[in-house]
């Protein structure tokens, strides 16, 4: 962390909510990467809060075109750099969970399969926050959103979180990692590694959203950390097909500790929490975590 740049390439003064996990993730990624980069950004909170014309928070070259095509735009940037002979610049595509796991999955899959030399960062806040907290395929099981409301018959999302890192790893990408804004050293190292490795690389960073997850804006890091400590979010990397857990919590915290900090899980009964704990335990077993 000592050698981390003090230069802010994502300028302060942008309009993200206080405690925004996504803005933090991007700020840290740019510190890890430095100036020699080109960013392609999908539509979403970050695009909206950082570029209300004529203002911009970006001190690096940045392009936004649409919601579902950021991996294709980055592919075009990379193809142009290649044909221009500009080696040494690895473009980064950034999208939220909706732009990655749902509407942008096809373009992402295509770009990874084609083997473009680019890094894709998914800033996952587990719902469509820009449009006001609607369910995405990475919304976790049981979570309230405005389109998975807590009603009489249905209570929150009834499907588990889509495992996008596994999907990208299955493409044979040379490097795939998960990260959390609450473990910045781990995250920054992964971004640096992903930039150093030739080919399509992928970092999926867990980004709590205070208004969307229903917690106070000073609790972002605490919530993110409890996700990792309870293994609701596991930090790992897959390098050349070999999976390795990068942070093994010394004593796993009950998932209830993580859930109870957030209003989106407030409606859950003890039985439902036990069910989520069972799902977390099962996933831990697959990763060899006790």
């Amino acid at each position: 962390m000592k050698e981390l740049s003090e230069e802010e390439l994502l300028a302060p003064g942008h309009r993200a909510c206080p405690g925004c996990g996504e803005a933090l993730a991007i700020r840290l990624a740019l510190k890890a990467v430095g100036k020699d980069v080109i960013i392609a950004q999908a539509t979403g909170c970050i695009e909206v809060v950082t570029t209300p014309y004529p203002e911009t928070a970006w001190r690096v070259p940045w392009i936004h075109a649409a919601f579902e095509n950021v991996a294709a735009v980055a592919s075009g940037v990379e193809a142009a750099l290649k044909v221009m002979g500009k080696h040494g610049i690895k473009p980064i595509a950034i999208a939220g969970d909706g732009g990655t796991a749902d509407i942008g999955l096809q373009a992402l899959s295509g770009a990874v399969e084609r083997g473009h030399n680019f890094l894709y960062i998914c800033t996952d806040n587990e719902a469509y926050m820009n449009t006001g907290i609607q369910r995405s395929s990475t919304t976790p099981y049981g979570a309230w959103t405005t389109t998975t409301p807590v009603g009489v018959v249905k209570k929150g999302k009834d499907r588990p979180k889509k495992d996008v890192p596994a999907i990208i790893a299955a493409h044979g990408a040379p490097y795939v990692a998960t990260a959390s804004v609450s473990y910045p050293t781990d995250y920054i190292e992964k971004v640096k590694k992903a930039m150093a490795i030739e080919g399509p690389t992928y970092v999926h960073v867990h980004c709590p959203c205070p208004p969307g997850w229903r917690f106070d804006s000073d609790k972002t890091i605490e919530v993110a950390r409890l996700a990792v400590l309870s293994c609701a979010w596991i930090l790992y990397e897959v390098e050349d097909g070999v999976s390795k857990v990068t942070f093994n919590p010394p004593k796993r915290r009950p998932v209830a500790d993580y859930l109870k900090l957030q209003g989106r899980f407030r409606h859950l009964t003890d039985d439902e929490i036990a069910e989520i704990q069972r799902m977390v335990d099962e996933r831990c077993r697959r990763f060899g975590i006790e």
Binding site: V60, W62, L81
Partner: protein, 394 residues
């Protein structure tokens, strides 16, 4: 050098001559042969470019967008469903003013599924802020693609070169292919005022707040209107160098004509034969072909059509619930003009139905009757339709 080329081959050779650096496309009939040919050029080292084989047309245009912003000349090609799928990005490209050139090989839209020609696909995206040129033959395809890059890059507007599926795309004709040196002399290297460059960071594609959005759109409109002058200027420069000119509209024996046909695309080739036949009989029938549909050359059209008694607009598209798109536009062009011809619309050739000289003659006869009586009984008619099948009286 004269070569016998299909429309698709002519398009591919033009792109090679224009030295496109990033080409991205997805296969779709009847366009596919263009990108097959370009892949071959790249694979054989005849064209120094990156060919990006994408997973959809939406991504094809998105790749071109990213590459164009980074600093290279780009190309994509599509048809029909492919154009519909990329339509979201069409508006982004024109809004961000990237000079991307594509060929759209005109094919009808589903449903029912049809791989055959009409112009509904490109007509349906006429409001997307792309220059749209419609070609009559394969020579014009090659020449228009080369011209398109110069117009696009000088105006910062994307250009769609449209030509009819199968009728041109798969039909071989003699085409005069200029040599590389001649084209290099006509088409300077790619240049954009702002690029994605770490040495000079810029933000592209921001949020357009209400205080600014309208100005962006007005600037696009002004550029499109100005493109009429630019198209003419580039066409003149092209003519000087290569000896072929096309104009925004083409006039064929139209000067003294009482009855005029108005068409777009390959249909005019057939129609011209018929015009000659009428002229031999001493009848004053002529033809006008719209080459630039967007920007719409209203001034030229009003001037050219204004002296006719009746104009029959033949087109391979329909704005369902109203009229053909070209007819609506030409009617609008005459709105504040005192002296105007009677206008009739003939919808024809949808989904690849052959438009025969006999059918065109039917349109001319109807226009002649209207000219005689001074009255149009029915503004919109269908040519070659089997009325009984749809429960209409013939």
């Amino acid at each position: 050098m004269k070569q016998v080329l299909t429309g698709n081959e002519a398009a591919a050779i033009a792109v090679k001559l224009a030295r496109a650096k990033v080409i991205s496309a997805y296969p779709i009939t009847p366009q596919t042969a263009i990108v097959e040919k370009l892949s071959e050029f790249v694979a054989n080292g005849e064209l120094e470019a990156e060919f990006v084989n994408v997973e959809s047309e939406h991504s094809a245009l998105s790749v071109c967008l990213g590459a164009s912003a980074t600093g290279v000349r780009t190309f994509t090609a599509t048809s029909s469903q492919g154009l519909a799928l990329m339509s979201e990005i069409l508006y982004v490209v024109s809004g961000m003013r990237f000079p991307i050139v594509m060929t759209n090989v005109n094919r009808s839209l589903s449903a029912p599924l049809s791989i055959w020609c009409d112009q509904q696909d490109s007509i349906s995206v006429r409001d997307s802020g792309w220059v749209q040129l419609y070609c009559e033959n394969n020579q014009e395809i090659l020449d228009s693609v080369i011209q398109a890059y110069r117009v696009a890059e000088e105006m910062l507007l994307p250009v769609m070169v449209c030509f009819d599926g199968y009728i041109l795309s798969h039909t071989a004709e003699p085409v005069d292919v200029p040599n590389q040196k001649e084209v290099d002399g006509f088409l300077p290297p790619y240049k954009l005022p702002h690029l994605l460059d770490p040495n000079k960071p810029v933000t592209m594609g921001p949020v357009g707040v209400p205080e600014y959005y309208e100005e962006f759109k007005c600037m696009l409109q002004e550029a499109m209107l100005e493109a009429r002058r630019k198209l003419a200027e580039v066409d003149r420069a092209f003519g000087k160098r290569f000896g072929r000119r096309y104009g925004l509209i083409e006039r064929y024996r139209s000067d003294d004509a009482d009855i005029l046909l108005l068409t777009m695309g390959s249909l005019s080739g057939t129609a011209k034969e018929l015009i000659d036949w009428y002229r031999k009989r001493g009848e004053r029938v002529g033809l006008v072909r719209v080459r630039s549909f967007r920007p719409f050359p209203a001034k030229e059209l009003v001037k050219t059509l204004g002296n006719a008694k009746a104009v029959a607009v033949l087109e391979k598209d329909i704005s369902v619930g109203w009229t053909g798109a070209l007819f609506a536009d030409i009617a609008a062009a005459f709105i504040n003009v005192r002296k105007k011809p009677l206008l009739m619309n003939f919808i024809c050739g949808l989904g690849g139905r052959d438009v025969s000289p006999l059918q065109i003659r039917e349109a001319i006869r109807a226009a002649a009757r209207a000219a005689e009586t001074g009255e149009v009984k029915k503004s919109v008619r269908w040519l070659g339709l089997r009325e009984k099948l749809v429960g209409l009286k013939a």
